[in-house]
Symmetry: C2
Subunit: 116 residues, 2 copies
Amino acid sequence: MYSNELIKGTLKTIVLNLLTKQGKMYGYEITQHVKEATDGKIQLTEGALYPLLHRLEADGLLTTEKVSIGKRVRKYYKLTKNGAETSTDLVKEFKEFSNTMNRLLESYTVNPSFHG
Amino acid sequence: MYSNELIKGTLKTIVLNLLTKQGKMYGYEITQHVKEATDGKIQLTEGALYPLLHRLEADGLLTTEKVSIGKRVRKYYKLTKNGAETSTDLVKEFKEFSNTMNRLLESYTVNPSFHG
DNA sequence: CCTTGATACCTAAGAATCTAATGTATATTT
DNA sequence: AAATATACATTAGATTCTTAGGTATCAAGG
């Protein structure tokens, strides 16, 4: 499990990307999927996930559909057109950011151009 | 310039790693170095940086040394033993997190093991 | 001289988002 | 019958960032 610091700021990217690939998912399913796909290294908490899903719906990136399973009701989320575009953008941005960070962390330059 | 969401949570890693490589730096120098090293893609704001430096010093990860340059005073920061260890840990953690995220974002699995 | 931009430090109000805890209820397994 | 898993949700508090502002020195150009 990673320090939660890092996961902050990537939650939206993870959720939108997952919905891009899976079509529709419900909240609990998202937490389990991410947990399994990362061997438990990333575990989304419900206290962070549900408010995010509600925000994304309010912002028009997701729509919901309620499905009854016995006496329980699942709330499925899927992307709107806008949500699909945002998903693509955020994934691209994360990859670029990831590259930039790895370059920054690996460069052993001795302050080549700064003249304090 | 990246959406600030992503930079959140990586600021500490960036600063400690930079000090590992450079030995000692002052606040303004850090902002300029990161800006130049990333072609302006990552720009630290002073409102985020200075409070962080103060926290890191209070937590015993950094020590300071004031150096007079004419009538101005620069405040140089360098790592303590504890800070050096934390730096190594955070960089390692970021790289692992980065790998995990990239795998997660790229996998096109159709929910192989989840049984909702 | 004086203004502008760069250097160099700092704080503080408010916003955003996460954590941790808690609540409710149904379904399944032991 | 009890424990665990499924499935939704909210809330107080903490953390950390943004935005804006404040102070002051130094160098360069008009």
